[in-house]
């Protein structure tokens, strides 16, 4: 009896193997690497793993005979840790695509490794616009957003309503520097002035000292070029130290719905910023969000988690068409050749420089009285059409475009 079972099992394995012969070792293996435990864990973290699993399920990989495995890891926001894990994944564990990678400094390191090993990098969490600029790679797709798009959306809107002098509170690493640079460019291009900046270490608890410097600058707008826990701590301290009652205004350049949830509407109301995804935008996004929340402690998806879903979905489509996953550059070329279409970002394209193009949304946080309940947080003030939302390809300095 046991013998028969064993034979049956072996036959099944052989069959599955035959169906997947075109994929390296018969398995498509995705590695989701991000901050699983610290200040970016709620906006990316374990929720990104949930989103990746949902994408594989919704794509119907199993029914199409594609065997997909997902592994996850915590890079602790350290480039060296991230690089070591990704090398191990590609060399020893046969991972075919690396997914998410928030924290731009880590993303840069991973970007180089993935290119060297000719695998695929699907970036959702990292923001630095250099990833599709001077550091662009034929193996990388940058999905959700970038610092140029944030600066373009939020910076433009604020300068045009009179916020023409700026002081930056900047996270002192690749992402913060890129966001500050891109926003400063938008501010000066629109006739505004940058009065100064202060660079704070990543993951700072107390911002009072930096806010005092921002207050002393007398700038009309204090731009927060940081993210996650750093942003929520800055906003809380700004409320406490009477920044707004002193005649200045805050511009959160990168704010996520989880940050608003953590702050509470009483503190976050009135903030204006740019997002590429809001769960309560249409039926498809709501349906996705409800399923996501059920699988992730009741939390609604952030745009990073939505981007992980959509990028994995499109990656699997490209593999289905290509019927091979060994050559990373060929897979990314296929992803660029096919128009994208998913329930969260709608129809879009991926440009030659690796930039995914879709609409962006300028949102305003509701007042407590306007909100119907938890997670009902945004009013969409404007839709920035895909064609204007991202940096024109010829302005980025990506060698893939010029060369």
């Amino acid at each position: 009896m046991n013998m028969i079972r064993l034979l049956g099992a072996s036959a099944l394995i052989a069959l599955a193997g035959a169906a997947n012969a075109q994929f390296t070792d018969g398995v498509i293996k995705l590695g989701v690497i991000n901050d699983m435990s610290s200040l970016y864990a709620d906006i990316s973290g374990p929720g990104a793993l949930v989103a990746a699993r949902m994408a594989v399920e919704d794509f119907g990989a199993a029914a199409k005979g594609m065997k997909v495995e997902i592994v996850g890891a915590d890079h602790q926001n350290k480039p060296d840790v991230g690089a070591a894990i990704v090398r191990q994944w590609i060399d020893a564990d046969k991972v075919d695509a690396i997914v998410d990678v928030p924290t731009s400094s880590v993303a840069f390191a991973v970007n180089d490794i993935v290119r060297e090993k000719n695998k695929v990098l699907l970036i959702s969490g990292a923001a630095a616009s250099d990833l599709t600029g001077p550091r662009c790679s034929p193996n990388t797709v940058h999905w959700t957003y970038d610092t140029w798009a944030l600066a373009n959306g939020t910076g433009n809107a604020i300068v045009k309503t009179g916020g023409d002098s700026w002081f930056f509170l900047t996270a002192d690493y690749a992402f913060g520097h890129a966001l500050e640079r891109d926003t400063a460019a938008v501010v000066t291009a629109n006739g505004g002035k940058v009065l100064g900046q202060v660079r704070h270490p990543l993951n700072t608890a107390d911002f009072s000292s930096f806010l005092l410097q921002a207050q002393a600058s007398k700038a009309k707008i204090v731009g927060l070029a940081n993210a996650g826990g750093d942003t929520t701590n800055s906003i809380k301290a700004a409320a406490e130290f009477g920044l707004v009652s002193g005649g200045q205004n805050l511009a959160g350049l990168l704010v996520f719905i989880n940050d608003v949830h953590a702050l509470g509407l009483r503190t976050a109301q009135g903030l204006i910023f740019t997002e590429s995804f809001y769960w309560d935008r249409n039926d498809a996004s709501r349906a996705f969000a409800r399923r996501f929340a059920a699988a992730h402690r009741g939390n609604m998806p952030s745009m990073i988690q939505a981007g992980v879903y959509a990028s994995v979905f499109h990656y699997l489509k490209a593999l289905e068409a290509l019927k091979a996953d060994g050559n990373g550059k060929a897979v990314v070329d296929q992803m660029k050749a096919m128009p994208t279409d998913d329930p969260l970002f709608g129809k879009g394209t991926i440009r030659k420089d690796g930039r995914k193009i879709h609409d962006m949304y300028l949102v305003e946080v509701k007042k407590p009285a306007e909100s119907k309940g938890p997670w009902d947080y945004y009013k969409i003030r404007a839709t920035i059409p895909a064609a204007e939302a991202f940096r024109p390809m010829d302005k980025g300095g990506c060698p893939l475009v010029s060369g």
């Binding site: 100064g196 202060v198 704070h200 608890a205 000292s209 826990g229 953590a262 702050l263």
Partner: protein
């Protein structure tokens, strides 16, 4: 882009930063005081201190969120709850390590810290829960050189009272004398009819209650966040090392002093603000290994 430097800091801005340094220093002082009490009297390097500080903040949040009990009661209740938890940890775990090398206590408390933080992170995520400033302490005063929120002023006052009170109890009362005597020679003190094991349990409970008190004070300023203690505890250990392990007054003074130094770093070279304390620690260890206020052992 306009270039801008902050090296010509006006004196007004400097006063502001000094005051902010004192405020942050009060958290360092309260936490390092608890560590110093526990190390001085029990010889335990309590790595769970940060996790218990975080637990204190979460108890306050829980009291408000689920039982509607406000800030002022939480200031008393949270330290009691966490103190009892600490007493239980001492009674059932740390006690078994009595007489062994420091390293065992350090490993046990470090493991406990990881477990406690992991449990909270699993349940509440990493972005934290909001906790509002109590209405009585909203608003602030313009001091001319800076806007001082009332709540931050209260933090400095509360922390000074608690720190000096603790110092007084340990250094100037009969109870404190028993405690210090028990550290020197437990057997002899026991021979006088004092229940030393119970005293040790209560001391540990008191030490971690101090951490919980600091946690409640911190809750309205920062997010009530499972990582809040992990980020702070390393700095606080550096403070203890600089002040001298086990010195009560040393840890209070060093806490405030390093808060001020860190505040000044944030003006002159903000990028280095969270490494400055460790630079000082390395320097002190080189020049005066027993710490600024420590006695040579």
């Amino acid at each position: 882009m306009v270039s801008f430097t902050v090296f010509g800091v006006p004196s007004q801005a400097l006063f502001g930063q000094l005051l902010l340094g004192l405020i942050n220093g009060s958290f360092y002082a309260m936490l390092s005081l608890g560590l110093a009490v526990i190390f001085g009297l029990l010889n335990i390097v309590n790595f769970a201190h940060g996790a218990l500080y975080m637990t204190g903040a979460f108890v306050a949040w829980f009291l408000l969120q689920h039982l509607g009990i406000g800030y002022w009661y939480a200031l008393i209740l949270a330290p009691i709850v966490v103190g009892l938890l600490g007493a239980a940890i001492e009674r059932f775990m740390l006690k078994r390590l009595h007489g062994l090398d420091h390293l065992y206590g350090l490993l046990l408390t470090f493991g406990l810290a990881l477990i406690i933080q992991g449990l909270f992170r699993n349940e509440f995520g990493s972005s934290g829960q909001p906790y509002q400033i109590p209405d009585e302490l909203r608003g602030g005063n313009n001091l001319g050189f800076m806007f001082l929120p009332n709540y931050r002023a209260w933090v400095v006052v509360a922390s000074l009272i608690v720190c000096l009170g603790t110092w007084f109890i340990i250094e100037r009362t009969k109870l404190g004398a028993y405690l210090r005597a028990a550290t020197e020679n437990a057997t002899l003190v026991q021979a006088f009819g004092i229940n030393v094991p119970r005293m040790i349990t209560l001391t540990y409970g008191f030490g971690v209650a101090l951490a919980a008190f600091a946690g409640v004070l911190a809750a309205p300023i920062y997010q009530v966040n499972p990582n809040m203690g992990a980020d702070l505890i390393i700095v606080v250990f550096a403070v203890v090392v600089i002040g001298g392990m086990g010195s009560i007054m040393g840890s209070i003074v060093t806490g405030f002093m390093l808060g001020v130094i860190e505040g000044l770093t944030k003006v002159f070279y903000p990028e280095a603000s969270n490494t400055m304390i460790f630079v000082i620690m390395a320097f002190v260890l080189l020049v005066r290994p027993q710490g600024l206020f420590g006695r040579t052992m």
